[in-house]
Subunit: 141 residues, 4 copies
């Protein structure tokens, strides 16, 4: 194999497109949210806390995004619950098992993750789905 | 929307009124307590550890106050238990699911939170309720 | 004194206005930046990492914003250097003494802070200044 | 030597007396402060953040109190500066070398510490001194 491989990288423009779509969806649902978009490495690219969203949900929004990017899967499905706790300990709390995080996958490559937090789990997930639907070529959930 | 919005801020006088009422109630119950009052953003405004209260309950008292202020709800009601653990991880332990924390709500605005810790959960909650009842205009629980 | 006092709160719209202006300025300078805007309490409202900005500067951008909001002053002026180190320890590293953070002051009230990080100190500060100049009524530096 | 020894313990009443005197002094100086009183073990007994004091100074106020109680000396005198940094590292940042912390010494015993933070170092120290002067029998500085 070659020493290096070409990969795709999510730009700030892409991240802000996701963020704007998430904000629109949350507004239409009447549920203010914290919205976090990270790159494939889990580093924060874009964030917004909508007026009325819980500031304490900033951590959960970002960690959902990190977890989804790092595992290439939606967050919240770890079984049994004890395993989720062990995984949280093993990652200093970064791998979180709450719904509302989705990987951003383009051309089969994980380019990042989006995490939504402040509403109920199913509301958070709905917003994340709507955001991905607004990014051309992104895998839908 | 405008760049800024008017809001209410809890003063130290208001916080000390809550603290004094909580202390009186705890004394009358014969259960010494740690009493923490935070502002809307979760920053500590006033604290007292009564003689005989557990010093290790300082953290739980403060985190109950922070959680209640940040969620605009009484603490302790998260279901299922696994979700409470995940929320604690997501917030580096700041979001706590023990009874005894209540939001301070005036004119419909969350201006802070009060957290009581060192007794049994129901005792802690009773003290928090008594404190809020002593602050004119505060929502009662 | 009354139990509560009226204050101003920075909205997400206001924060995103600052962020957009900071991004434009950084682009025109050819220096990609991490841009963080926090509310008066130091909680993150909006964040963007421009393409090419260092991901490790996310923390410095946010802490500059937090420090400026919490101290109502530009960051970077603590003397002597030893005091700056002690203040960082006293705040678990949140109070940072690097240039590039400015308080957001409207009608004489601190409503938040902006922090820029990834360039040289003077470049960071220049971007923060340009952002504040784009927010109607904000104190300029 | 006997297996146990009688010691003095600072009560909440004593701590609140110190806190009230500190608040009065700070008010008369026109410099709002964070005021922290800890027991001999360094555990928080009483705390108040005055209106207008920096919330980010809560940590420095408390750590000054802890450091003074733990070392039985006023804070801020460690030399050379490098030693202060090493002591901070060695204590996870709890031993802090900023002026404004004084030990509470009664009948030759350290019963606690008081720490003041939000003003300039010399202002903080002045408030701490005034508080101790208001506690009968406490060693003055």
């Amino acid at each position: 194999m070659a020493d290096t491989q070409p990969t795709l990288r999510l730009t700030l423009d892409g991240a802000q497109k996701l963020l704007a779509a998430a904000k629109d969806k949350a507004q239409s649902m009447g549920v203010p949210q914290c919205i976090a978009i990270v790159d494939a490495a889990g580093h924060l690219l874009a964030f917004a806390r909508m007026d009325g969203a819980k500031y304490i949900s900033r951590g959960s929004a970002e960690r959902k995004a990190v977890t989804a990017a790092a595992t290439a899967q939606p967050t919240g499905g770890v079984q049994p619950p004890e395993a989720a706790v062990q995984l949280a300990f093993a990652t200093d709390g970064r791998r979180i098992n709450l719904p509302g995080g989705l990987p951003i996958i383009i051309e089969g490559q994980v380019v990042g993750g989006i995490g939504i937090g402040s509403g109920k789990g199913e509301e958070d997930l709905e917003v994340a789905k709507a955001a991905l639907a607004a990014l051309p070529g992104a895998k839908r959930f």
